[in-house]
């Protein structure tokens, strides 16, 4: 089963007007690419991937709010990381 299908089983209240994670999308340094590779591998929601032209594709809509990307980024690649505003984001029915 694909990760997109899996996320489809979850309940999300997406804050359409307010991204809680802002990422750098292109012109990565070698160091940033190493970090980016780790983030792509680790994100349990599979939200990070590279386009063929080397730019980053990222969508915060399926975010599980675990903070993995923020920890791996160590202040690089991810320009801003906040929790979604209250009531928004994922809502676990099992957890």
């Amino acid at each position: 089963m694909s990760i997109e299908e899996k996320l489809g089983f979850n309940k999300f209240y997406v804050d359409e007007s307010n991204a809680h994670i802002i990422v750098k999308k292109s012109d990565f340094t070698d160091e940033e690419l190493v970090i980016l590779n780790k983030i792509i591998k680790a994100c349990p929601a599979g939200l990070y991937s590279l386009n063929e032209d080397g730019t980053l594709r990222f969508d915060y809509a399926g975010c599980l709010e675990c903070g993995t990307c923020r920890i791996l980024a160590q202040g690089k690649v991810i320009e801003d990381w906040k929790y979604p505003q209250g009531t928004f984001g994922v809502e676990f029915r099992y957890g």
């Binding site: 899996k6 590779n37 591998k41 680790a42 599980l64 675990c66 929790y83 209250g86 099992y94 957890g95």
Partner: protein, 428 residues
């Protein structure tokens, strides 16, 4: 809403609600602020709760709390790509009250615990994100959420592993990837009778099963399976320090894990109902942040209170106990009317005198020991190889058990083996 509370607790998980309950029941004005729509909405666990610390606060809690199953069966497997060597312990001895453990689902369990705090008189404000702590003259005096500011004698941070607030006031540094792991979990629905048959359980009994080896593809980490009433929780935890060494992403590793011959028949016919992810503190004693300051205490995951020894993982019992002690420390501070760091030092003292810090210290070398890749590659291969030799009969003249064992051990190297065994024994 009152302008000033005795105590504001950020986070309505098991730690936050326990602290809230302890304070409210002695008549203190407590506010618990939870960013989810209800307590537990943002929380997940593998996972099981060792009951002892909650039992001392709510005797017989398992009679009324929404627990899934009582664990009476413990399994640990060492996996290679195509095989598994499993230790299996099944016993009623695991089920004695206050020495037992329960599989729980946090969305339901945390809500129950928050209700207990509310019934005791705590105010629970859900759906509110705390943006920052109010700090005046170097002292935490409250919280800021949107336009609202609320003050308290003390703020207890129970806001989880990724505590941005603790970081904001310098209680801890940026999280070191070597000190945490990422967990990914599927909740897979199956009829109770199928679960009982597949895991050899009666009624409300449950199984806890940990996996080491191929499932983490050589990286520090492992798999887990816990039986709920009408579903099973199946997941992986992978250390962030070694992430990137595998060609697979974490979601791909979980898919591979589900295809493994030991797992596949266990989840056959099951229906996925939820997929979740979370970060787990794994740094142990050496990664505990500053636990108290002027007007502030840190509890639970935010304080890094998790013990992973490979064969068992604990967090919630430590979170509950730390919250209880923070609450007791607050009550003492309130009697002195002194909420300075010097006064709140009694929180750390209580933790140090309890099983919380003693157990954290006992296993302090284990996180470093676990960074040894042989544990996840060579040793599962060794065990599977040895047992293959033992059980496979093919007409070729048999070798003695001793020589079979010796040739398997030689592959890892006797020096490595002795060294790892010695380190492992000392780390435990």
């Amino acid at each position: 809403m009152a302008d000033k509370f005795d105590c504001i607790i950020v986070g309505g998980g098991v730690a936050g609600s326990t602290a809230g309950y302890m304070l409210a029941r002695v008549g203190l004005e407590v506010l618990i602020v939870e960013r989810g729509n209800f307590s537990g909405a943002k929380n997940m666990t593998g996972g099981r709760l060792y009951s002892h610390s909650l039992e001392s606060i709510f005797p017989d809690f398992a009679q009324s709390a929404p627990v899934e199953r009582k664990v009476t069966r413990e399994k640990v497997s060492f996996m290679t790509q195509d095989s598994a060597v499993t230790m299996d312990f099944q016993s009623d001895r695991l089920g004695f009250q206050s020495k037992d453990s329960y599989v729980v689902l946090r969305s339901q369990f945390d809500r129950w615990l928050a209700d207990q705090a509310e019934e005791a008189g705590a105010m629970v404000a859900s759906g509110i994100l705390v943006d920052e702590l109010l700090v005046r003259d170097g002292r935490v005096v409250g919280i800021k959420a949107g336009e609202d500011e609320m003050e308290a004698d003390v703020v207890i941070l129970a806001d989880g592993v990724n505590s941005l607030l603790a970081q904001q006031i310098g209680m801890r540094n940026e999280i070191d990837p070597h000190h945490v792991a990422v967990g990914a979990k599927e909740v897979i629905e199956l009829p109770p009778s199928v679960i009982e048959d597949r895991f050899n359980l009666n009624g409300d009994e449950g199984a806890a099963w940990l996996f080491a080896g191929a499932c983490s593809d050589g990286m520090m980490g492992g798999g887990y399976l816990y039986t709920n009433k009408e579903s099973i929780s199946l997941g992986l935890v992978i250390g962030l320090g070694g992430i990137g060494k595998s060609e697979y992403t974490v979601p791909e590793l979980l898919e591979n894990f589900k295809q493994h011959p030991i797992i596949k028949p266990l989840i056959k016919g099951g229906k996925l109902v939820e997929y979740s992810g979370h970060v787990v503190p794994e740094g142990g004693y050496n990664a505990i942040p500053k636990l108290f300051g002027d007007g502030v205490m840190v509890v639970g995951d935010a304080a890094g209170l998790v013990i992973n020894t490979g064969y068992m993982v604990r967090g919630m019992d430590l979170a509950i106990a730390s919250a209880e002690m923070a609450a007791r420390a607050f009550i003492e501070a309130k009697e002195r009317n002194d909420f300075s760091a010097d006064s709140l030092f009694c929180y750390q003292k209580k933790l140090e005198q309890s099983f919380v810090i003693r157990d954290m210290k006992l296993y302090k070398d284990f996180p470093a020991f676990m960074e040894n890749p042989r544990i996840f590659n060579e040793y599962p291969e060794l065990a599977a190889g040895l047992l293959t030799d033992l059980f496979r009969i093919d007409g070729v003249p048999n070798k003695s058990l001793k020589s079979k064992a010796f040739s398997a051990l030689k592959k890892v190297g006797l020096v490595n083996l002795t060294r790892d065994a010695w380190k492992g024994v000392n780390a435990l």
